[in-house]
């Protein structure tokens, strides 16, 4: 006779146990708490941000000045989705306005902030820089409708920095300060500036990759006078003359290997260290890179900011491809306290510190005067930047997918063209197939 303990669990018993376990898990899932988050009375606000978005000093400052504790959670899209779906989201979340705002707004997980802006004395509507329109979405188009967030600072990301010492070495004249070069001229300069030896690139002629490949191509298509997306943003078309022009230019840039790309990676992962080391003649980074450049006086002396290139015959536009800032989830628990932190972060000490640091253009017009202008090189940079601001534009992005998704698809099919195995036209066709499939799925999901 078997003892009870030795009896194998029956199927019924196993199912009962599993159900019990599942119930326990579900209950514990419901009770998931953000680490150290929301206390009673709205004294603690949870911010999901990246390292460097807010400093420990600023966290202490918030407690001291506002009486509100700030708990930081490291930004992570998977964690964010888990927190949103478990009904316990952070109170404020980092986002890239150009590509995230419409995505989250369309899925109805972001809070409309208009009522808060309407009664704020810190963030007045007439003081908001137009870049904050990246955080508006009317259900169809980005740049219109209610506000879902705000940018902490911004750059016009199609502008580029160049190193005059490398230009001098190559005997090339500098790009003009206020008149843009064409994309073809930029590429020609890059070809002349690149220095190679035995298969190694000693100096990259230039880097031009945009914030993401999808924002780059959307912006360049707009520079050529077209639009990458259909009017309702449910489709992309890479075969229009304007989109094809942009695509052909980018593939040519990769194919000639004048700068980092998928087929010639830069181990630093981004342009900053390579440019700082004098190993990159031009870098497609907007004003914000000046914050890094200013830390090295020698580099600052030889660095110049230039306007965004144009396509011959196309309009002169200069878009912000980022506009990183914060948004508030609809299910945030401490909305009032979160808004107070929001106001402080975007309109008070942290905003003033960011403006004076030169790491981006402030998103309140009233803070513009704080942008660094003590040194000659800073004045020169500011002159170019102020002129470029007249060409600022919003290039709307589709709400039906994340930029990462389009990048993933692009990077699956584009290397064949970069390596010359397929033509640009064939690539455009393949991109249409995979991207539109993804957009179609996204549209069905949003409803």
């Amino acid at each position: 006779m078997r003892s009870h303990a030795a009896a194998p669990p029956s199927r019924r018993r196993f199912l009962a146990l599993s159900a019990g376990g599942a119930g326990a898990a579900a209950l514990s899932g419901c009770a998931l708490q953000v680490s150290g988050s929301v206390g009673g009375g709205g004294e603690t606000v949870t911010m999901m941000v990246s390292p460097g978005d807010i400093t420990p000093d600023q966290v202490r400052q918030a407690k001291r000045k506002l009486g509100i504790g700030v708990e930081l959670v490291k930004w992570d899209i998977t964690k964010l989705i888990a927190m949103l779906t478990s009904g316990n989201p952070p109170d404020l979340v980092r986002g890239v306005g150009a590509v995230d705002a419409a995505y989250f707004a369309a899925r109805d997980v972001a809070e409309v902030l208009d009522p808060y802006f309407a009664r704020s004395t810190v963030l007045r509507a007439d003081d908001l820089d137009p870049v904050n329109d990246l955080w508006r979405f009317d259900g169809r188009t980005q740049g219109k409708g209610p506000r879902y967030g705000m940018a902490k600072d911004f750059s016009q990301d199609s502008m580029y920095w160049y190193n005059t010492a490398v230009f001098d070495e190559a005997g090339l004249s500098y790009p003009p300060e206020t008149e843009p070069v064409t994309y073809e001229e930029w590429a020609e300069n890059a070809r002349r500036l690149v220095r190679r030896r035995q298969g190694q690139t000693i100096v990259f002629g230039g880097s031009y990759a945009g914030l993401t490949r999808s924002t780059l191509l959307a912006t360049m298509t707009a520079s050529a006078g077209g639009s990458l997306f259909s009017d309702d943003f449910s489709r992309a078309d890479f075969t229009t003359p304007e989109a094809r022009k942009a695509l052909a230019w980018y593939i040519d840039y990769c194919r000639t290997k004048v700068g980092p790309s998928l087929i010639q990676p830069d181990p630093n992962g981004w342009d900053g260290p390579t440019y700082q080391a004098g190993r990159m003649a031009m870098t497609n980074s907007g004003y914000w890179l000046g914050g890094m450049i200013a830390t090295d006086p020698k580099l600052a002396e030889v660095s110049r900011l230039a306007p965004a290139p144009v396509f011959a015959g196309g309009p002169r536009i200069s878009a912000c491809q980022g506009g990183t800032g914060l948004w508030m989830p609809k299910k945030a628990r401490n909305k009032d306290a979160a808004w107070r932190v929001f106001e402080w972060f975007f309109g008070e000490e942290p905003a003033r510190e960011r403006a004076a640091g030169g790491w981006g253009i402030p998103t309140l017009k009233s803070l513009r005067s704080l942008m660094p202008r003590q040194e000659t090189y800073q004045q020169r940079t500011l002159r170019v930047q102020e002129d470029e601001l007249k060409r600022f534009s919003v290039v709307s992005f589709t709400p039906y997918t994340r930029a990462d998704a389009l990048d993933a698809l692009f990077n699956q099919v584009a290397p064949a063209a970069m390596n010359g195995r397929i033509s640009v036209d064939a690539l455009a066709g393949r991109l249409n197939d995979v991207v539109n499939e993804q957009l179609k799925r996204g549209k069905e999901q949003v409803g």
């Binding site: 030795a6 599993s18 899209i77 997980v109 010639q264 990676p265 994340r402």
Partner: protein, 329 residues
């Protein structure tokens, strides 16, 4: 080859135990032991249910939906994701690449680990130091290893190309197609110390008298290795093959070799390293297709089960088990 049982000398007869004296007390002892067994294994069983069975069940449910984490209008689509998977050329490409990677990397790393184990099983000076040095890479965190390989194999500033250009050769774009796959293979072989340690333990378990007998019979070193050592190591080799195969199809290391480093990393993996798990990762975290990615994972689970079953089936005649007769009781 047949399955052999290598048994030790017959154990001395066990002394009578208390539970052998009376039926009631014996049953009580058995019951107590069984309770202790379940008590001590319950943390693992609970963990297995909560962290494995339930997530797998949830993933199975997701695989029948269009769930993307956030969107309000996801729906049940039955086998739609599985049907799409069958017709997705990217999935098949990634699966093929993964299979190739597994059949290349697993035998190579086992051979490398076994070779090192044989060498370091000999009475050489500073043997312990060598064993430690070779094992060290296995304990280096994968992120560190990835970054080190990225720096080492960079086309323009890496040491590998530094040596090549010093010798008059042209630099090679190791981290891009088509060479990235070789760098990946090197990262696997670099960590072969793990296999070496297990093989070494197996080697030390081989009875010395069998080697001596073979030597007395005039067998060469190679013949002894082939006919005595390898058969006795066969359970270890099977273990390494099975776990190595499972690990290789779940490889995520190429992510760390991603050249451009964007928000997800996965989107910039060179195509030659775009393995099945990269595809799964991209579907989950870049494309937000939780349902489809879950279907991919379930298919991988079934493939792993099938391959493992086949491995056991086809190696059953070639594996020698050292059976403890007591364990059969």
């Amino acid at each position: 080859m047949t399955v052999d049982q290598i048994t030790g000398p017959a154990p001395a007869e066990a002394p009578p135990t208390r539970h052998g004296r009376g039926r009631g007390r014996g049953t009580s002892m058995v019951a107590r032991r069984q309770r202790a067994f379940y008590l001590f294994t319950s943390p693992w069983i609970a963990g297995f249910l909560l962290l494995t069975v339930i997530p797998m069940g949830y993933a199975l449910w997701l695989s029948f939906t269009t769930f993307d984490g956030l969107s309000p209008h996801w729906r049940y689509i039955g086998l739609g994701n599985y049907r799409e998977l069958i017709h997705d050329p990217v999935t098949w490409d990634a699966l093929g690449r993964t299979g190739l990677f597994a059949v290349t990397s697993v035998p190579l790393s086992i051979a490398a680990g076994l070779g090192l184990a044989v060498l370091l099983n000999r009475p050489v000076k500073a043997r312990g130091l060598f064993r430690t040095l070779i094992y060290l890479p296995a304990v280096v965190p994968p992120v560190g290893a990835g970054l080190a390989f990225k720096a080492l194999f960079d086309q323009n500033s890496g040491a590998t190309n530094g040596v090549l250009t010093f010798l008059g050769f042209d630099a090679v774009g190791w981290l891009a197609d088509p060479y990235a796959r070789y760098v990946l293979l090197m990262t696997v072989l670099w960590a072969a110390g793990n296999i070496m340690i297990i093989s070494l333990a197996g080697l030390q378990d081989v009875p010395r008298e069998l080697h001596e007998a073979a030597r007395l019979d005039g067998a060469s070193a190679w013949r002894t290795f082939r006919s005595v050592t390898v058969p006795l190591l066969s359970p270890v080799l099977l273990f390494q093959t099975v776990t190595g195969m499972i690990a290789s199809v779940q490889t995520i290391m190429p992510l760390l070799l991603a050249p451009l480093g964007d928000t997800t990393g996965i989107t910039t993996v060179p195509q030659s390293n775009y393995l099945y798990m990269m595809h799964v990762f991209a579907q989950y975290f870049a494309l937000g297709r939780y349902g489809y990615a879950s279907a991919l994972l379930w298919v991988l689970f079934v493939i792993i089960l099938a391959v493992t079953g086949l491995l056991f089936r086809f190696t059953s005649g070639a594996v020698f088990y050292h059976v403890d007769p007591e364990a059969k009781k």
